[in-house]
């Protein structure tokens, strides 16, 4: 894409790229720095979620029976559908990055739109799941007023359930936001094989959201 590359050369004799920030030596250095920063953020995300997983494991060790019975009140099929939706969105996200690598603008836009649609489907399924829990009084902490008997402390299970899936859902919403930003820039024609690091970094974030769900799904829905 010639519009991204100006004709004049900079002091190092390199063609100056439109998105080349002056404090980086080369586009490659700029990209690898940005990616390293993204990975530091993802490492932080892993640690952030590990606190919630720890709470899950401690309460599960304390109330194994509660966990066995409470998980039966979650809809395995809806959870399974959401898993497939997120896995497919991860595929389209990876393909979006590939399209950007090949300077294929049309493929990039189509794959980004598919990813965004999947994110919305995920949230819609989650909405139906949440409303079913609200209806049956399966709520966190003091708000819990389930009618069916669950041994032990079901309110703790549902506290963990709503906190973990809720924070994961917030990550999905944030993902939709950054995906729209990338989509706008892709339509504008910002990305090609010489510059696609924003697509790649948003992709890394989106895959992490998928990774968290890969562990949440069996832990919350498939206890038995």
């Amino acid at each position: 894409m010639s519009s991204a590359t100006h004709a004049h050369d900079d002091a190092n004799g390199q063609a100056h790229h439109k998105f080349h920030q002056h404090h980086f030596l080369t586009m490659a250095q700029q990209a690898s720095s940005a990616k390293f920063g993204m990975w530091l953020f993802l490492g932080q995300e892993v640690l952030f979620f590990s606190g919630l997983f720890m709470a899950y494991f401690v309460f599960r060790a304390l109330y194994p029976d509660t966990w066995l019975h409470s998980a039966e009140h979650l809809n395995k099929t809806m959870g399974g559908i959401n898993t497939v939706v997120l896995l497919y969105s991860s595929l389209t996200m990876a393909l979006a990055v590939r399209s950007a690598q090949l300077s294929d603008k049309k493929g990039l836009v189509i794959n980004l739109i598919q990813t965004i649609v999947c994110a919305f489907i995920f949230l819609v399924v989650k909405y139906f799941e949440y409303s079913a829990k609200f209806e049956h009084g399966l709520l966190p902490g003091a708000a819990y007023h389930g009618h069916e008997f669950i041994p032990g402390r079901p309110e703790l299970f549902f506290t963990v359930y709503f906190t973990m899936t809720g924070l994961h859902g917030i990550h999905v919403v944030a993902g939709i936001g950054v995906l729209f930003w990338i989509l706008k820039r892709a339509i504008r024609g910002d990305f090609d094989s010489t510059y696609y690091i924003p697509v790649e970094n948003v992709g890394l974030y989106w895959h992490l959201v998928d990774l968290v769900w890969i562990f949440l799904f069996p832990l919350l829905y498939l206890v038995r």
């Binding site: 490659a28 490492g43 590990s50 066995l68 595929l91 402390r153 829905y221």
Partner: protein
Amino acid sequence: MANHAHESHHEPHVLPLPVYYGVFGALLVLTGLTYAVSFAGLPPSLSFGVAMLVACCKATLVGGVFMHLIWDEKLNIIVLAVSVLAMLLFFSVTMMDELSRGLILPEEGTLYRQHELSTLNEIANPPAAEHGGGHESGKAEHKAVAGAAEGSGSAHAAVAAPAAGSGEGSAAAHAAGSGSGQH
């Protein structure tokens, strides 16, 4: 020119399409596997092990191929590995403590666990009706634990009073029994 060699070295690393579709297919198969295993009626601990093993395989596929870690700079893998190791350390040390409490000094362990569970009950059900028991607590460590568990100072003397007598206390003891029984 040196720059030329440098630039050509950083051509995007493009994977062939079948790799992506293959990984997606494998992820679907593994998802189907955990879903099926959850209906197989395995004992919970075995079922849990299978589910975690499959989840780890799926995470490796997503991280390695979709996140491109296999072909990425090693520095990025190190960042991820360090945070995963920190997480495992966090899990293992906490669970060692959690699971061994009833094993050391069984009597005190039982008492401790009863107290701990009643504290958790207090968190789950804020004391609305009953504030059973007086301020009998000669055991300083119980108070300290109650303070640490809930973060604030007062009102926990009542919590710290061993709940053994009340019905709640015996329920807690039962839960503790089943808890240690699984492990």
